[in-house]
Amino acid sequence: MHRFLAILAFYKLFVVWSFIVTAIIGFFNPYLAPAITTKLFLTIFAWYYVSETPIKRKLIFYKNLGITPFKLFSIMFLVDCFLTIIFLTVFKEFT
């Protein structure tokens, strides 16, 4: 449980940007498939960005716990998809 919460703490770095992207998607094209595809590309970009900048030092905390970058970003993607689906579902109800 604590490991999962630690992964959520890493996700916090990206959550505002993710929310902005979800809001833009919701406004222009509120369908799940393109939204999730966009989030997949953004997760891959975030992984690349973290690997190529000094932020990659933060990954050592997770590697010491046996959490690989692949596992970390995969769980982040799943959590992000879950939040995106909830947001878009609620958004469609009101538009």
Partner: protein, 219 residues
């Protein structure tokens, strides 16, 4: 456990940083790496952990080659030069995540008792280093890699960390590197000098002067 790092060859662009490396460390002994600034000590420790991919390397655990990064085995904990705990995390949460007991920590570092619910970023640089080092040393593992554990520490904390190292080495392979050579010499059982990209095992401390790591009369 016997840990061996062999045949490491590391290049940054076309510049050769490491070549012809051999390092052997085993449970019950502290193995230290000394070397001048920029000689590749931290790169070597990063390679051992699996955080940096060199052109070539061979890691053996108990004489068996390991083909995946060492951290994937779950045997190893690594203290990097910089703080590795995320700034916004509370210390109580970090200790729970690493399965460590806060009260046991406070027995060794009583002044830290007020920080249990503080975020890591609110501590001073030295206090952060104490927490980083304690977590890596005390978390369950078989191999501990420490990159500059004595940096930024107050003398009293250096002594406590040295005591912790001497306790933990009974159960763990400990590999350590630091510029505070006197503490390294005190704490270690095996010494390697990293010079010109290769490791040289130091059998006699005067070799450190012969290899110009220390000036004459430093010992």
């Amino acid at each position: 456990m016997i840990f061996e790092l062999d045949n490491v060859e590391l290049y940054f662009k076309n510049k050769r940083i490491l070549n012809g490396i051999y390092l052997k460390a085993e449970t019950g002994k502290v193995t230290a790496i000394l070397g001048k600034n920029g000689c590749g000590k931290s790169s070597l420790l990063n390679i051992a952990f699996g955080n940096l991919k060199p052109k070539y390397k061979l890691i053996r655990l108990n004489n068996k080659p390991l083909l995946k990064p060492l951290y994937l085995t779950g045997f190893v904990k690594y203290l990097p030069q910089n703080n590795f705990i995320p700034d916004g995390m509370k210390l109580a949460f970090v200790f729970k995540t690493y399965n460590l007991n806060w009260n046991t920590f406070i027995e060794n570092f009583e002044p830290f008792s007020v920080y249990k619910n503080s975020k890591f970023k609110t501590l001073s640089g030295g206090e952060r280093r104490v927490i980083d080092t304690y977590i890596i040393l005390k978390t369950k593992s078989e191999i501990v890699i420490l990159d500059e554990p004595f940096s930024h520490l107050a003398p009293i904390h250096i002594e406590t960390v040295k005591q912790l190292i001497s306790v933990e080495k009974k159960y763990k392979v400990i590999i350590i590197s630091d510029h505070m050579y006197q503490h390294i010499i005190d704490s270690s059982d095996t010494l390697y000098l990293l010079k010109n990209g290769t490791t040289k095992k130091i059998e006699n401390l005067t070799e450190l002067e012969d290899y110009k790591y220390l000036s004459e009369g430093s010992l």
